[in-house]
């Protein structure tokens, strides 16, 4: 190693890391271990011999994990973080500290018990997780944060973290009452679906398969009365309520957002408590989500997009999960973004209605018809078809865009209404897109590319008349 200043010597992750690594690795090595056991059993090996072989295998794995830990070092050299890793082929990663945009400290339940943490730094160089230090002590994590934020002048390492925290201004906190309300309103069928997925998995293991279920349905078809079939949605709703409640409690428990010298800091979570920090100048755009039940009652969720992305769902930082409009306006102002203004929104072309129906509604409608033909007792589902048509009509009503003084604003979605606020200088690229059906209807979609974009929730403007789309695209380009 090269000569280094005192205090900047290479450090390793916490010595407990290899033991955790072997625990997480154990799951994947179970099949191998079973195969070896089976082979030994076939070869009539004695009990002690089997134990000895398994023990030797475990020891070898532990040694490999330990070697991996021993060969992984990191050090801070003034303005860079250098991470060396690799047992045989060495890998060096150099991260200039001035390029670090966000630094997050996360803890899962086990890490909380052991006083350990995971430090994540994002530099926005395209790839994610550019620097990930899994398993360092909490004090070390705080020290790293202090150094990375350029606060190395602070006197003592362990008091610096505390001192920095006392400067912070609390912007938003989710109280227990609001958390419970938010939980009740977070009706979600996602976890129900996940549960069914798990059932499917269990079925696979037990050799029970979906065909049997189908046969069973065929056999008992006469037993399904309309009344009983109506019970099914009720059960689903109940499951959705309970699962929404639990997932909200786990995720948003004691959600706090603070402001400290131009940085937003968020701490939240019940079992695993994560902390993430982002610098306000890095914010690219804001998305306000008004999910149906909460939206109708006047609550919204605010997330912002930064270049480095985020581990939060959708790849954007959730900075407030459950706020009313007044608080929302305050948080937007802190983030340096103009407020969303629905007054000046312009509608998209009429052709958006048939396009939405063709794209999203046709297949479900046909599926419902087929279901009723097969199982006539299920006739109430036909009532859903007008609902699907209605949604297609509403899609256009709720879709709108506006080019204001400093920002493009877009609204989209019927049940979950999303509002984008995108300052013009954050637009990276604009494209006009026409699919075959769009060409028949004479409309085009404006695709807007931003830094750090992920997923489908982009501020695109769907189905504008071609002439209008051209006009909007050129004025967007002119304002960049």
């Amino acid at each position: 190693m090269v000569a280094e200043d005192a205090g900047r010597a290479p450090r390793r992750l916490h010595p407990i890391t290899p033991f955790f690594a072997i625990l997480t690795g154990a799951r994947s090595s179970i099949p191998t271990a079973l195969a070896i056991l089976f082979g030994l059993w076939r070869a009539d090996a004695s009990g002690p011999a089997i134990l000895a072989i398994l023990g030797a295998g475990a020891a070898a794995m532990l040694f490999l994990c330990w070697l991996g830990w021993w060969r992984t070092t990191y050090r801070l050299t003034g303005d860079e973080l250098v991470i060396d890793s690799g047992v045989l082929s060495r890998h060096r990663r150099v991260i200039p500290l001035e390029r670090v945009q966000d630094i997050g400290i996360e803890q899962n339940p086990i890490q909380r018990l052991a006083g350990l943490a995971r430090v994540r730094m994002e530099t926005g160089g395209g790839g994610r997780d550019e620097a990930l230090l899994d398993m360092v002590s909490l004090d070390e994590a705080r020290r790293l944060r202090v150094v990375v934020r350029g606060e190395a002048r602070a006197v003592a390492v362990d008091t610096a973290g505390e001192a920095a925290e006392s400067d912070e201004r609390l912007l938003y906190r989710l109280g227990v009452g609001a958390l419970l309300l938010s939980g009740i309103l977070s009706f979600s069928l996602f976890w129900v679906a996940a549960g069914f997925g798990l059932l499917q998995f269990v079925d696979d293991v037990t050799g029970y398969d979906l065909g049997d279920v189908f046969d069973w349905f065929q056999l008992h078809r006469a037993d399904f009365t309309t009344g009983r079939l109506l019970l099914l949605p009720l059960v689903l709703i109940l499951l959705g309520l309970v699962s929404g409640m639990i997932s909200t409690l786990l995720r948003d428990f004691d959600f706090r957002l603070t402001l400290d010298r131009g940085r937003l800091r968020r701490v939240a979570g019940f079992l695993s408590r994560g902390e993430s920090i982002l610098a306000i100048p890095r914010i690219q755009l804001a998305v306000v989500r008004r999910a149906w039940l909460r939206g109708w009652l006047g609550y919204a969720g605010l997330s912002v997009q930064t270049l480095g992305g985020s581990d939060d769902p959708g790849g954007r930082h959730r900075i407030a999960p459950f706020v009313r409009d007044a608080k929302l306006a305050e948080l937007m102002a802190v983030s340096g973004l103009p407020e969303f203004d629905p007054i000046g929104l312009r509608p998209v072309a009429l052709a958006h209605v048939p396009r939405v129906f063709l794209k999203r509604g046709l297949l479900p409608s046909l599926a419902l018809l087929a279901l009723v033909l097969w199982l006539s007792a299920a006739w109430p589902v036909l009532l859903l078809i007008p609902a699907i048509l209605g949604v297609a009509l509403l899609q256009r009503r709720y879709h709108g865009y506006a080019l204001y003084g400093h920002s493009l604003q877009v609204r989209r979605g019927v049940l979950t209404r999303r509002q984008w606020v995108l300052p013009y200088d954050r637009i990276q690229m604009v494209a006009l897109h026409q699919s075959l059906t769009q060409r028949l209807f004479g409309v085009a979609t404006i695709l807007i590319s931003t830094a750090g974009e992920t997923g489908r929730e982009r501020p695109d403007i769907l189905d504008l008349n071609v002439a209008e789309a051209r006009g909007v695209a050129s004025s967007l380009i002119a304002r960049i």
Partner: protein, 157 residues
């Protein structure tokens, strides 16, 4: 600048040859696989010769003789000095506009076929996404790159 006034220029005719050659390579590849399938089907089930490879070959010929030309005709570009426009797509059309001030880095790539016909592919990357412009004459691609190079953004986004 209004989009109506932007007229997209066709890319170099050399790129049409590149597209045709690529289609030839693909056709040979898939027809060879289909021929193996044909042979197996004849051997096992006594299928007549060419029931698989024939249609594959026909599609291949269509892609060489017709589709390549259509595709080439639909690629257009315009470099205004302030932004770069690229239009492409036959059934599904897309017209992308990249402001030069947003370009983070810029690549020129040349495959073997592209070198044979003296064309190059220009790839510009923004912090959001990248845009590809194929079929520029090599010297023109370099001229655009050299024009953009001093203006690459130093901002991290």
């Amino acid at each position: 600048m209004a989009l109506e006034t932007i007229s997209l220029e066709l890319v170099s005719r050399g790129y049409l040859h590149v597209l045709r050659l690529q289609a030839v390579v693909h056709t040979l590849f898939y027809t060879a696989i289909a021929a193996v399938g044909d042979f197996a089907a004849w051997y096992i089930w006594d299928w007549p010769h060419g029931v698989i490879a024939g249609p594959v070959l026909l599609i291949g010929l269509w892609s060489i003789l017709i589709a390549a030309d259509r595709k080439w005709h639909r690629i257009g570009f315009a470099y205004t000095g302030r932004e770069l426009h690229v239009g492409q797509g036959w059934l599904e059309r897309i017209h992308s506009i990249v402001p030069i001030a947003r370009i983070q880095h810029i690549d020129i790539s040349r495959s073997l076929f592209e070198r044979w016909f003296g064309v190059a592919t220009l790839v510009v990357h923004t912090a959001g996404s990248a845009m590809t412009l194929p079929g520029l004459p090599h010297d023109e691609a370099e001229a655009i790159r050299d024009d953009i190079r001093p203006r690459l953004t130093a901002e991290p986004w």
